[in-house]
Symmetry: D2
Subunit: 278 residues, 4 copies
């Protein structure tokens, strides 16, 4: 690969679980070059990002905590495509990181969640003025987006639907954010789901699950041995149509991350959600 | 088949949905003879039980509502085995039906639910004194008993378990009686299931389902297109073990009914539950 | 409902299993009127189509075997919308039935399979000349079309896929026609699926299933208790995305049949496949 | 814990994937002490077994390749229970390892597969003469043994059964050894499964899967994103009973390994298979 055509990539949060996975994915992508690896954790400063990620060869990219110099360095690189900064850090720092990147003409791809609607709007305005692409992606799973799109398509023909989500028992909150999001996508169809056929009676409270708005129920299973699974079940007279997504490894997010790195190059403003670039 | 070896069978509730299915099953069993078909519904009096059940040939057994003469007739039959009365009627009449049958030396096999513990005890005493077998079977599904036995076996090695039951949306109560019974069988193991690993938080009430006693959660799905399904999911580090039973037709109860007819012949007292005769 | 706005419907094959289900569905649709019920079986001539279908009230539409007079009668009805003929008959007669209907200006909706490509083309030419809508629908399940469309969408992002289809053990052929069709829809994407990662070895012949073209494998399960089920499983690093359709009753085809009756009114030529009118 | 009551454990193959998992499990078991860690790989000699396994603290047990001295050392330990040697090495060396251990009075627990029936018999004779317990366990998954026992129990009441096994697409052989073993356990019931109801026709070869003996079919799915899964599906009129085991991490074998270490202490001869000690 000639460096002239490559996309230079900086990974912010490179020592975290997702960050390390991204280091590997970028290193293996033929159209990208890892140019910087940032992390605020003191214990990893100076380590090789590739070795930390478990690659057999070092990438000769040391972990550092100096964002601005790195942005300046990549911005000054004239023989490659415009740079991209991947951010898997903390809600506390992501806003400043994104502003800094845009100021240097570096396109942010953000997987960190927790930005307030107000701050999201600020960043959108900032990206707009700078005519710089920026992607905010709360869930990088292409499979989950496909499931949600298929569910929305099915909801035009099915009036009955329930959601089951299953996760390991280290997960404290229920229902999962993704299951709630799936239910909300269906509700936005402006249709009344699950008109009751009988007067239901819960002999034990909670049996019929949680209800998002009026109508769509989510059931949350928590067990060791589970990882992250979601099932959307549509029913009609004489038939059941089920969509299921099972996640067993962070590797499943990498196709979405690489797609985002490639697509953000073509954008001139802030875009929210992986579904917008599929 | 020589009539000498056959088991003479009376079906009480022969015009109901289960009754008709039993008429067919008994008619096709080579070791049984249908001798009487009772039903209190006026519209079916005098009709042929076989034709009503959908058999192509009449059985020449007319529906009647006279129980005592029928019991006397079968009790007087000296060339066959002792008679059996299957009861799929109503909670209001089943107690009297069973007493009458035992009084004539006819063995009852009861699928009708709703007998109070007191009346069950009375019938047990009555059968004991008469040295007459009697089977009370709330669920004739051999598959479900196998599932429950496998769940009890698994509960010795797994500490985490949840139950999902799925039924058509004409079912009003949740959780299903069978799911509650499965959870209670596990609780009787005297073990604490599902010790929490984190402080759970239900962001929407009901997400984590209903809880039988302290520990085993049941989630109830209701959709058209579903029939009757139960799933018991055991989890441990790195593995999931799932038992699932799907019912699509009352035909699935007939092997249990025929087994009960054969086994009640060997009993001298009242026995409760299909699992006792497997 | 005023008869003026209704769609007059003739059902050809009204005494068959699908025909009876269609009789019920049309009778319950507020925008349709059942005007004729045809069947060649001698045993049902003159019977009321509604009673034969299991409705509690007769429809006062007797079963007949005279197609032409019926077509003429419906064609002469000036106060309603143009008539529709549903055909669930036999491969031997369907070609003539469709030609006759079109000749009278009656729109055919055909669920009978087995028309040769040549005869399909003839009918398309015939409908074209007559500017009359005609629908040939080998599978009326909207749920299955949704599954296939979701599978095609997923195939753009997933390179690995296998199909499992499960049917009752009265089904002689394997794989099912619908599973083969699903595999062919994926192959038409022009992509190489399932590039091998290792040299596979079947220790027992057939373990890896059947292969449609080069690449997509179908596995056929046959058991009593199953009805008709299809599962398309996509895999990628760290994730599995599964689409499943379960059929338990012919009722599931009725939304597709009613949709076809409404849509054929707006067509001026022959259209093949339910997916074209969704 | 007082060392007096502990079981001293040697792990042979401690640098392998399973070996490292066993190091962690033994280190965390309150009734065991890791006394030796063997591995023939030159690159790991002298490393701390705990650190290599990913524990945060070193265990102060260095990897060595000297088996005999280690066996002698543990055999000489008089204040603890008799020692146990876990073997997850290679088919080429396991026979000698086991003989050596027994010669020193150390009980072997062997997960290495590939011993010929002849050599297995030799080891059984050797253990018998020495009155020393020895466990040969081809599959340490308690969940899988429970599944197989539940399948055997179900096979008394169900006549129809098929098996689906699903693995990642790095697995070359099909069907999986465990699925074949499950089918053989069912065949040993001495029953004819799956009597055909129709003349089956494979329109594409392989559709109906592989057949173990005459009757039980196994279908093998291979996809990235899958790990290791087995499903045994029983069918009867109107019902389906499914047993499924999903493995996502080697951690799932550790309860079986720890159980074997405890049970081998009570044995006086060679025992084959985890099911014998449940």
């Amino acid at each position: 690969m000639s460096k002239q055509n490559a996309i230079p990539v900086i990974i912010n949060g490179a020592a975290g679980k997702m960050g390390r996975e991204v280091v590997k994915a970028v290193a293996q992508a033929s159209d990208m070059v890892l140019m910087g690896a940032l992390d605020t954790s003191s214990e990893h400063q100076g380590k090789d990002a590739g070795e930390l990620a478990g690659l057999s060869e070092p990438l000769e990219v040391p972990i550092t905590n100096q964002l601005e110099p790195m942005l300046g360095y990549v911005a000054g690189e004239r023989q490659m495509q415009p740079g991209v900064m991947i951010d898997f850090t903390h809600p506390s720092g992501v806003y400043e990181n994104v502003r800094s990147a845009i100021a240097y003409g570096i396109r942010p791809v953000v997987g960190t969640t927790g930005l307030s609607p107000q701050r999201l709007q600020d960043l959108a305005d900032f990206a707009e003025k700078a005519s710089t692409g920026c992607l905010i992606i709360p869930n990088f799973s292409i499979g989950m987006v496909l499931l949600q799109q298929a569910a929305v398509a099915a909801s035009q023909y099915f009036d009955y639907v329930e959601i089951i989500e299953l996760h390991h028992n280290q997960k404290a909150d229920a229902p999962s954010g993704t299951a709630i999001q799936t239910a909300q996508l269906l509700r936005e169809m402006g249709k009344t789901f699950n008109p009751p056929q009988v007067q239901e009676e819960e002999k034990i409270k909670g049996a019929r699950g949680s209800e998002v708005g009026e109508g769509i129920r989510i059931h949350s299973i928590r067990l060791p041995g589970l990882i992250a699974h979601q099932e959307v079940i549509f029913g009609a007279a004489g038939e059941i149509y089920t969509l299921r997504h099972d996640t067993s490894d962070r590797a499943c997010y990498m196709p979405g991350v690489l797609l985002a790195i490639r697509k953000v190059q073509q954008l001139k403003s802030l875009v929210y959600g992986l579904e917008k670039i599929l």
